[in-house]
């Protein structure tokens, strides 16, 4: 379909996944992403795909591991507490070099937390979450259109680099309705000679595994994986630059925080403050170079997050702490207002109103 339709963010993910050739979905209900499961429950049986509500988020991620091992595009979705449950399974998927898509529509935490939006799983998504040395490709959409586009991208990148990809959305992205179009998506087919499809008596057996009891072998596996990660950092980093050409101050934000920040930036500009935005779209790989280069030109950064401040550390690291970085945060399900972001911009720009 290439005409625009009004869709909920959660449903846009599901539709884009199907158009990308994903025919297997395993999930479990949890607010605010249950629409993805409900959409898949309706769509998958009609196209000969699999929809299964698993007994838990743990079971779901292990079903994903199985289907991915057999060489098929597969996804699961959940929200923060459910994604915590999946961490062991995600580590296994990463350790077995398997592709898949995990969607986290974040809600307030920690613990049972709340059902309103948050961005407080940034650390979990980008710094591990599960045990061991590994990364996920983490994509942060900031519109319903991006919920669709990033889903397509996630499947392609996961297959290309043989690793799990995560769509890190927040409750607002999941619940909001915006026009979205699904351009002709060619479900990119990647050869998977490593998949456990059955030997058909024509080849030696394939083993999907992450156990390497020999330390030299395990070290080698880790190094090979990180060599792939280095290639991804080189080639797949994505970000948006907004009004940065002559900016003296830079706002760093992703997802809903970036949309709010754009409003504040436009207002700040109207008041004569030269401020711009760098919006990371890949949270891993983080656009370190973009921030590093910006630090040569701007006098300071403002990070806007729906958390107690997690991405701020990556901004400080990328800029080697050579410029002040002030946080503008809300958490618990609260969303920063454009006024709040504007106040933070004014604070760092030195004038007070």
């Amino acid at each position: 379909m290439s005409e625009k339709v009004l869709m909920k963010g959660n449903e846009a993910i599901a539709e884009a996944a199907i158009l990308s050739g994903c025919r297997h979905y395993f999930g479990y209900p949890i607010t605010p992403q249950t629409e993805i499961a409900a959409y898949m429950a309706k769509r998958m049986p009609k196209i000969g795909g699999t929809f299964l509500q698993a007994e838990s988020e743990i079971a779901a991620i292990n079903m994903v591991y199985g289907t991915s091992g057999a060489g098929y595009r597969v996804m699961t979705s959940s929200s923060s507490p459910g994604v915590s449950l999946k961490q062991e399974g995600i580590s296994y998927i990463a350790g077995a070099d398997l592709p898949c898509l995990i969607v986290n529509v974040q809600r307030g935490g920690p613990g049972l937390g709340g059902i309103q939006p948050s961005q407080s799983d940034y650390f979990q998504a980008t710094k591990g979450g599960g045990h061991g040395d590994y990364h996920l490709i983490v994509l942060a959409p900031a519109s319903v259109q991006e919920m669709a586009n990033m889903t397509v991208r996630a499947f392609d990148l996961a297959d290309k680099y043989r690793m799990p990809a995560m769509l890190l959305a927040d409750g607002t992205m999941g619940q909001m309705m915006e026009p979205v179009e699904f351009p002709d998506i060619k479900a990119n087919k990647v050869e998977k000679p490593w998949a456990v499809t059955g030997t058909q008596m024509k080849r030696k057996h394939n083993i999907i595994n992450s156990l390497y009891l020999n330390p030299e072998e395990l070290e080698k596996k880790n190094e090979e994986r990180f060599a792939r990660y280095a290639e991804i950092e080189e080639k797949e980093t994505l970000y948006e630059s907004f009004m940065m050409d002559d900016a003296e101050y830079c706002v760093a934000a992703f997802g809903i925080a970036a949309r709010v920040s754009k409003n504040a930036i436009v207002e700040a500009r109207a008041q004569g403050i030269k401020v711009g935005l760098i919006r990371p779209i890949t949270l891993w790989p983080f656009p370190k170079k973009a921030f590093d280069e910006a630090a040569d030109k701007v006098k300071g950064f403002i990070t806007v997050e729906l958390s107690m401040g997690q991405m701020i550390e990556d901004v400080e690291l990328a800029t080697k702490c050579r410029r002040p970085v002030i946080p503008c945060n809300r958490t618990g399900g609260m969303i920063p207002s454009p006024d709040q972001v504007l106040s933070a911009i004014k604070k760092i720009a030195g004038g007070d109103q």
Binding site: N62, H205, L211
Partner: protein
């Protein structure tokens, strides 16, 4: 004329199991079933966490290593993706009846068309002999050094009896491998559990009452005697559910 030899579906890798460990017998019975049904080329096995973690080195078919307890979920993912393939799990008592209880029950209730081999030796072997959910009352293990006290840690779980009450699964059976007669019977039951999958009948689980000489602190021979004298009375052998046979009986 050869009347008994190693099955083709076992690799040449020497088994790492302890001398007299019944895993070796059970692996062979699974491989014999795969050979005799001619399904080696389309079988995928799921290995557990436990002594049999390296089962992926012993079978010639494609293999997947699963997280502890999650093999039925992994098998579900494999079966839904490749329904014409024969998917089996091979799990110990901790894997299937402790951490994996939910996965076991739900795969059974969904009548997932897979074959589950459940090796019950009433102990956690690989980690050095801790109490299992199937350890017997009074049984001494590393984590029940004064004997399993049912008052504080509860009673052992009889998985077959429990699963057989469910409407979902097709075939639930318990066998043992402590003597020649029982091994020959176990072979037939395991073959049926695979045949059921080939015929699309659904979830088939075989519990194999087994020994762990090393962690029971016995010789292989004494361990098999313990299976006979203590395990089998608590875990009686038999077919607990056979939906197709029951249907046929009614016709």
């Amino acid at each position: 004329m050869i009347v008994f030899e190693k099955p083709k579906s076992l690799t040449d890798v020497p088994l790492h199991y302890c001398p007299g460990c019944t895993h070796g017998i059970i692996h062979r019975l699974v491989a014999e079933a795969i050979d005799e049904l001619g399904i080696e080329g389309r079988t995928v096995g799921v290995a557990p966490v436990g002594c049999a973690v390296m089962a992926y080195d012993y079978f010639t078919c494609d293999m997947v290593e699963a997280a502890h307890g999650r093999a039925p979920a992994v098998a579900t993912g494999l079966k839904r993706a490749t329904p014409d393939n024969i998917i089996f799990t091979y799990q110990g008592d901790g894997d299937l009846a402790s951490i994996g209880t939910a996965e076991t029950i739900h795969a059974a209730t969904r009548n997932e068309n897979i074959t589950v081999i459940f090796v019950n030796n009433a102990i956690y072997g690989m980690t050095g002999g801790q109490m299992a959910p199937t350890s017997l009352p009074g049984q001494v293990t590393q984590t029940s050094p004064y004997g399993r006290d049912v008052k504080t840690v509860g009673y052992p779980i009889r998985m077959c009896e429990m699963l057989a009450t469910m409407e979902g699964p097709e075939y639930i059976a318990r066998v043992a491998v402590n003597n020649v007669k029982n091994v020959r019977n176990a072979k037939k039951v395991i073959q049926k559990a695979f045949e059921n999958q080939v015929n699309g009948l659904g979830f088939s689980l075989v519990e194999v009452v087994s020994s762990c000489p090393t962690n029971w602190g016995m010789t292989p021979q004494k361990a098999l005697e313990w299976v006979n004298d203590k395990m089998i009375p608590y875990y009686p052998l038999g077919v607990y559910k056979d939906r197709s046979a029951a249907k046929e009986g009614k016709e």
